[in-house]
Amino acid sequence: MEQLLTANVATNLYWLGRYIERIEATLKQIMVAYDQIIDVDKNAGIALYENFSTELEYTNAKDFLHKAIFGDHSANIAVLAGYARENAIICRNHINTQAFGEIIALHALFQKSSNSFVDIDYKLIDEADSLISEMWGEISKTQYKRISDYFLRLGQLIEKADFNFRFDEEKETGIIIIDEINKILANLEEDKGVKVEQTQTQEMDYEVIINNIHKKIQDLIVN
């Protein structure tokens, strides 16, 4: 039997997937840059944030961590965790209770650290990373078979694709991700009773691909 979802829940699941994946992927990049700033390349953080179209200024590795996580810019991790929490609250009855708890804990972790006088360090990122892994682990228990999982997974994959293109990672990986997105879209289209064209990955600008997919998802959700 088909799973019922309001458009609001579907949208929030999709964005929950995006924000959590964005936090996870950004934290990984932050850790790489942090390690380099210590004694290899003082400007590694600046280069990283250019990818996010953000000019980040910092004095040392610890200051970089603080600015990356709590700074006044659109890739602020603490703010993203707040958005994810809002998404989770709205679609709480469609996500695993344990996963919901991990998201609440993730937000609380950043909130607590932002109010703390103690310098933040790698432990915060390790802890956040571990909460996110646990969250995905809980969600994957349903094996992505429900409509609600599709939206969450779509959000996660589109963010993965975005990072893949943004950081110029292997093209093959990007194609695999887009293929998976296409498969999920096909399932959702079947549920809706419409047929939408597959997104082609050849000779296309990554922004065009991401925007095409995003538009298809928006079209699938009828408000």
Binding site: L5, T6, A7, I89, N93, T97, L188, V222
Partner: protein, 454 residues
């Protein structure tokens, strides 16, 4: 004053004393992570906070609870019959048991619904009945009936869930009634009265004070959580708007908003949280609403006075559970009594709820009492007076020490094919010593309630 410690309490303390004290912090962390917040507006700002809670449960023996259960079943049956009668034949009014004027002046009475019978003639589907245990008679007394949109059931559900995870020993070694079945009671009641279609929980939205509860219950009941614009009324039938554009028929709605806001076409036209056309669909018998529209009359503090009379009238029985001794200044002899004894009574404004509009005579100055008398004389229907019930304290672990705090108990009663009393409930305690107001809106906390046997 605490209840005399019995064998059940001793068994609890025996196990509790062996627990690692650090588990109390673990308990708190778990509640913060998984439990339910309470939203409120303070000075125009939206604030989310977790309700204060306590790890020491209230313990009620199964035998004692069985009497409460029977009394509540009796009371809800009578109240449902009263509402059905009032909105159809109104025999109880015609026969002078409840004065007509009293009914008509009740703010929750909706004469527009006269002549309408809801699905299966059930109106009181989900009820929260507030009780306290009187220290004088050592018996439970009913303080208030909440038959509109009683809230709070998710608090005991979440604290019990935490308890079982952090302190499994209690549940392994003691005979404590399980409580997980409460959402299934509501689900069964919804299915029983359903007019054909899916079940939904209608919430005002994310910023409602009890949004977490709406979401939690919807999940546990396997119902869709919806806001008004996610429902649509077409040809007097209600439909759920699925994400893919499909429309799914709705048979039963557990609505978490008051009558006034439920349908802007029928009630308050300014309401943005209601479903236009919902009342038409309801009156056409195409959708069940839980609870029924117009129930507010039965939980009016003035009508409360008549509930024991309703039990005798409809069921021919003596009430198993008693009201607090109540006086209606509306009646001349009661007015005289109230004026003579006002300094020892509790005066309640019938239009208020949540602990607001409650005045304790013994806390008021002579001048304030005179002003109150003038207000009562000017509008006697607006007030009721009750003897001050000295109710028992509960032991609470607050600020790392055991303290005694006044505590009430909200029992939940669900009416579907039969009347089920949940073997748990919401025990609320006052944060300050000696305070009689335990409502969350007054800063009160909550604790688990264990119905237990040896």
């Amino acid at each position: 004053m605490l209840e005399t410690e019995n064998e059940l309490h001793k068994k609890f303390w025996e196990i509790f004393s062996k627990q690692d004290r650090q588990k109390i912090d673990e308990f708190k962390n778990h509640m913060d992570k998984f439990a339910i917040n309470f939203n409120l507006y303070k000075d125009g700002n939206f604030i989310e906070r977790s309700l204060p809670f306590d790890v020491i449960p209230r313990i009620i023996s199964k035998e004692e609870f069985s009497k409460i259960e029977k009394g509540l079943q009796q009371r809800i049956q009578a109240l449902n019959l009263f509402l059905e009668d009032l909105y159809t034949d109104a025999k109880i009014v015609k026969e002078g048991i409840v004065p007509q004027e009293f009914v008509e002046q009740a703010s929750g009475y909706l004469k527009e619904f006269k002549g309408f019978s809801p699905s299966k003639k059930i109106r009181t589907h989900i009820n929260g009945i507030d009780l306290v245990k009187d220290t004088v008679n050592d018996s439970w007394v009913i303080l208030e009936d909440n038959l509109r949109v009683p809230s709070g059931s998710s608090y005991p559900l979440s604290i019990r869930d935490t308890y079982r995870k952090i302190y499994p020993d209690f549940f392994e070694q003691l005979k404590i009634e399980p409580i997980k079945q409460y959402p299934s009671y509501i689900k069964s009641a919804m299915n029983h009265v359903s007019c054909g279609g899916i079940n939904v929980v209608l919430t005002p939205g994310r910023f409602n004070s009890a949004y977490y509860e709406h979401s939690y219950l919807a999940q546990e009941m396997d119902a869709q959580l919806v806001r008004a614009h996610e429902l649509e009324v077409i040809d007097k039938k209600v439909y759920f708007k699925n994400y893919n554009g499909k429309r799914i028929r709705v048979g039963s709605i557990y609505r978490r908003l008051d009558d006034d806001f439920i349908d802007p076409k029928f009630f308050n036209p300014e309401s943005l949280i209601g479903v236009p056309g919902l009342v038409e669909a309801y009156l056409a018998g195409n959708v069940a609403l839980m609870n029924a529209i117009g129930n507010g009359v039965a939980d009016d503090k003035g009508i409360y006075y008549f509930v024991p009379k309703m039990i005798k009238y409809y069921l021919g029985e003596e009430p198993i559970l008693h009201n607090a001794p109540t006086y209606l200044p509306y009646f001349k002899e009661d007015m005289e009594y109230v004026f003579k004894n006002i300094e020892k009574l509790v005066i309640k404004d019938v239009a208020e709820a949540g602990g607001y509009g409650v005045l304790f005579g013994h806390e008021m100055s002579a001048l304030q009492l005179e002003d109150l008398k003038t207000a009562i004389k000017a509008n006697p229907r607006r007030f009721i007076a009750q003897e001050l019930i000295e109710f028992y304290d509960e032991k609470c672990y607050l600020d790392k020490e055991l303290k005694d705090r006044k505590a009430d108990f909200r029992a939940y009663v669900v009416m579907g094919e039969d009347i089920k009393v949940w073997q748990c409930g919401l025990t609320r305690y006052a944060l300050e010593a000696g305070n009689y107001l335990v409502n969350s809106s007054q800063g009160g906390g909550f604790k688990d309630t264990w119905v237990m046997e040896l």
